[in-house]
């Protein structure tokens, strides 16, 4: 079954150059791909390549300028509420009310997905324990927690609503090596136990190779390659994924493009 079907998806943003002049900057230039149910697809791209725009379009946070996107058959732009029930997201910033505790943040946000107080009082401790969050720190304000801890709570928030499509937008960027490995291990577990489909946007080549079934290369808003890591290496006649990325885009992954919206 197809979980995500994106066809000729286009998005532009308007930039102001001074008070009167405006120009249109393409963020996605007609990309097409599909993700099968239970599959993990990583999208590699430099900053500004269009990764976050793709995630935000699928999360119903942006309106498109052309093409289409469907999640489990639901039109992302025509029936966004049906899509929202199926999707959750973890982004590079953990994004919580900083003075509120992890339990408070998880509790109210789960309510938006229809979970009752009884359900959250049972599920939140379970899920925090599974992500390795210390029990005794559940009442502490988020601002008192390390980045790694905050990101674990972000994973717990996403998983609490049992999404069938998980959008991961650089979930391990800025984490220390240990936290990064823990988060990656948890992503594997989510996939195995919950049968979740995952779209992982990253600029970490090792992470993409370790977690994804297929890898796409997004460059200046165009999806210029999509295949398994081995297929990409063969196609670009290189030993490493880094070499394949360089051959495909003519630049290293760390190079920034113009910042996207």
């Amino acid at each position: 079954m197809t979980a995500v079907e994106v066809s000729d998806l286009r998005k532009e943003f308007v930039r102001r150059d001074g008070p009167w002049r405006r120009r249109r900057v393409p963020a996605l230039c007609g990309i097409s791909f599909t993700i099968e149910r239970g599959e993990c697809v990583a999208v590699l791209g430099a900053n500004g390549s269009g990764k976050s725009t793709l995630v935000r379009l699928l999360a119903t946070l942006l309106l498109h300028d052309g093409g289409s996107a469907h999640v489990f058959g639901h039109d992302v732009f025509g029936d966004p509420r049906a899509v929202r029930r199926l999707v959750n997201r973890v982004s590079v910033e953990a994004s919580f009310f900083k003075k509120m505790s992890s339990t408070e943040n998880l509790s109210y946000s789960a309510r938006f997905y229809g979970m009752t107080r009884g359900e959250t009082s049972r599920r939140i401790p379970e899920i925090l324990e599974r992500v390795g969050f210390p029990v005794e720190r559940r009442g502490e304000a988020m601002e008192a927690l390390s980045r790694g801890m905050q990101q674990k709570v972000a994973l717990a928030r996403a998983l609490l609503t049992a999404p069938v499509l998980l959008l991961l937008d650089e979930p391990t960027t800025g984490l220390d090596p240990r936290s990064k490995l823990e988060v990656q291990e948890f992503i594997r577990e989510v996939r195995q136990i919950h049968d979740a489909t995952i779209l992982l946007c990253t600029h970490d080549l090792d992470e993409a190779e370790a977690l994804a079934d297929r890898i796409g290369i997004l460059h200046r808003g165009e999806l210029i390659a999509l295949g398994t890591a081995d297929e990409l290496k063969r196609r670009y006649e290189t030993e490493t994924l880094e070499g394949a990325f360089f051959a495909a885009t003519g630049r290293a992954l760390v190079d920034d493009e113009e910042e996207e919206d």
Binding site: R56, S91, E93, S95, F97, M100, E104, R111, F112, G114
Partner: protein
């Protein structure tokens, strides 16, 4: 039928979630709230003392009545400020914290989301307004022998529907302009009250302002509440203030939802529905 009931249940749980979140925030920022409340009391006193000041300067006025008129104006100003602040600043606050993306991608109907914010703002605003009125009335030893508080609460409750509707319109401003949107909400609050006779009769205003006063819910709220507290007017006696409030509320809420819907679409079109700060 069962599907509709499940959907309704889900929306009500979501609405409770919005209220719950705001309760957590008040709890976590309680000392700030107390500090702002002290500021509101001080601000109200600077206005209410005007009545004693006029008498001290030789003016012939009924000090207790004028003090009460000014106090009601100041309390309604503070109440409206809380409603606008909660509706407008919650959106701005969510932008700043980054939670806005998670809130707006949740499967919660926007009218339910806004209704949750409106319900909390009214409940919280009523608590603050009652405390403010009680403290200042006690400081001035206002007797209010005729006061019909029940009637005043009815007028305030009906006016709140309109206030929330207008608040929804201002709540979208931080989505359109992250930098200046909140301030525009304060401007809307100020304009609404200046044409509504907050500290003076509407009759003293120029004609064009009086025309605006006719469509302002604050005009009828102030008039009805003053009649109830100063003259003991019952609900029937303030009906001429209640029915315009019902009509304005019936227009303001759908209009507020539509303005918010359009603002949200604009934000999604231009990539503004995201964290900032």
């Amino acid at each position: 039928m069962r599907g509709a009931a499940a959907t309704l249940r889900g929306e009500l749980i979501g609405l409770a979630g919005v209220v719950e979140r705001n309760v957590y925030l008040v709890r976590r920022y309680i000392w700030w709230d107390i500090a702002f409340f002290v500021w509101t009391v001080a601000n109200t006193l600077t206005i209410v003392y005007i009545a004693k000041g006029i008498e001290a300067a030789g003016g012939q006025i009924d000090v207790e009545r004028t003090t009460t008129i000014l106090l009601i104006g100041a309390v309604i100003w503070a109440y409206l400020g809380i409603i606008f602040e909660i509706l407008t600043e919650t959106v701005a606050w969510e932008r700043w914290e980054g939670t806005i993306e998670y809130t707006f991608m949740a499967p919660l109907a926007r009218p339910v989301h806004l209704a949750g914010m409106g319900i909390f703002s009214v409940a919280y605003g009523v608590v603050r307004a009652v405390l403010l009125f009680g403290i200042v009335a006690a400081l001035f030893d206002l007797q209010l022998p005729e006061a019909n508080f029940w009637s005043a609460v009815v007028v305030l409750a009906i006016a709140s529907i309109s206030f929330v509707g207008i608040g929804m319109m201002t709540a979208v401003l931080p989505l359109i302009s992250p930098e200046k949107g909140v301030q525009l909400g304060f401007i809307a609050q100020g304009v609404l009250l200046v044409v509504s006779g907050v500290y003076y009769p509407v009759d003293v205003l120029p004609g064009w302002m009086q025309a605006l006063a006719v469509i302002s819910p604050a005009t009828y709220a102030l008039d009805g509440i003053r009649a109830a507290i100063l003259d003991g007017a019952g609900v029937g006696a303030v009906w001429h203030d209640i029915w315009p409030l019902i009509i304005i509320g019936a227009v303001a809420v759908p209009l507020g939802l539509e303005v918010f819907r359009r603002g949200e679409r604009h934000a999604k079109r231009h990539g503004k529905l995201k964290r900032s700060g």
